[in-house]
Assembly symmetry: C2
Homo-oligomer: 113 residues x 2
């Protein structure tokens, strides 16, 4: 699914796409998932962590958050600095059964401010 | 400057405005500053932390990051969930002298992806 195991790269898709990826990884037996994002996707990464924890896996906890700066090559030449984040989520338990019945519990989703 | 001491609320202004606020607080003798942001401003908060650390105060470190979800009242009625972040920066030293001469060291700024 991605180049690094147990890593979800957050991009421009809706947060729920990545929430599903996180749940898939954790449901397959992994105890840990790392979300990686840069630039505007940083907000989406925080949304994914919060939605997964609050709606689907209350046993999930944030075990590590690392901030960073990456140098991106520009098409016009030169480089540009962009902020990045890595959020590591750790669980000791399996996804709640309710994860399969979210339609019945329409909790509000974090959206953009 | 804000309701809570040593706290900078990150909004829609350019990151450098908030970097200046952080440096002002740390220069007045405080050892700790907390950045608070929600929604899209989360990305700006990470930019502020990274720019302050890399360009102005290399002794600065991220001592704590807390993710959360806040319920916002909507004008139309009801509430909406929005993700939030609190980044605590801690220093043991005063701002570098170079902070006054940034024009001479035009390091690239994190910008939006």
């Amino acid at each position: 699914m991605s180049r690094e195991p147990n890593t979800v790269f957050i991009g421009r898709k809706p947060a729920m796409n990545y929430v599903l990826a996180v749940i898939t990884i954790l449901s397959s037996g992994s105890k840990e998932v790392t979300l990686k994002a840069r630039g505007r996707a940083i907000t989406t990464a925080v949304d994914v962590a919060e939605i997964t924890k609050r709606r689907f896996m209350e046993s999930l906890s944030v075990s590590k958050i690392q901030l960073g700066t990456e140098q991106l090559e520009m098409q016009e030449g030169g480089t540009r600095a962009v902020s990045s984040i890595e959020i590591t989520l750790t669980t000791e338990a399996r996804p709640k059964e309710e994860a399969k019945a979210t339609q019945e519990v329409p909790a509000p989703l974090p959206t953009e401010a």
